[in-house]
Symmetry: C2
Subunit: 111 residues, 2 copies
């Protein structure tokens, strides 16, 4: 019982929720910022920036890759992570649109 019903919603809502899920942990926000700031994309230092074990950071990175915000490759002892700016742009556009659509009916105050 209690199967998740995430997928029963409109694709648009699911997409916004995915964006939310991606940034729903401060570690992932920090990782995104770190990757964006490190234009060189050599990103072993992410682990040093965070109060988390290497394996935990790797899990957070995996989530970010699943959502699509981050793309990366590992070549042995080196790594290459970077923001997928296209995906990020898409997500943030639909998110901004959602935020700006909300107050359209902001007519009557209540409560």
């Amino acid at each position: 019982m209690a199967v998740s019903k995430r997928e029963e919603f409109d694709q648009e809502l699911v997409q916004i929720a995915e964006m939310g899920r991606a940034i729903a942990h401060p570690a992932r926000v920090a990782i995104l910022r770190a990757i964006a700031a490190k234009q060189g994309c050599v990103c072993g230092e992410i682990v040093d920036l965070l109060p988390l074990a290497q394996s935990t950071v790797s899990q957070h990175l995996k989530i970010l890759k699943e959502v699509g915000l981050v793309k990366g490759e590992v070549e042995g002892p080196r790594s290459c992570y970077c923001i997928d700016w296209e995906i990020l742009g898409k997500y943030s556009a639909s998110f901004k649109q959602f935020l700006e659509m909300l107050p359209e009916h902001k007519i009557s105050e209540c409560c």
Copy 2:
């Protein structure tokens, strides 16, 4: 073991993550939109809009109230939910700022 380390991050990051958590489920995105569209704030119809049980919707509403995006009161058989526009504005501002700060270093492509 495995205590959450959410709170060990900068307050700024935690706040963005809270916003993310609030919209990390499509049901909550739908609820926010429904409340915003129903300027009258009589919101028993939310349950009818969603493929979820009333108690589940109530839980999602509780999360939105915890984060602060929604405020509401119940007066017996009537309800009054509405967006806290001030909080929403604060959150979305810091979120937009985060999004716009990210590509500042978008100099070198890689991967």
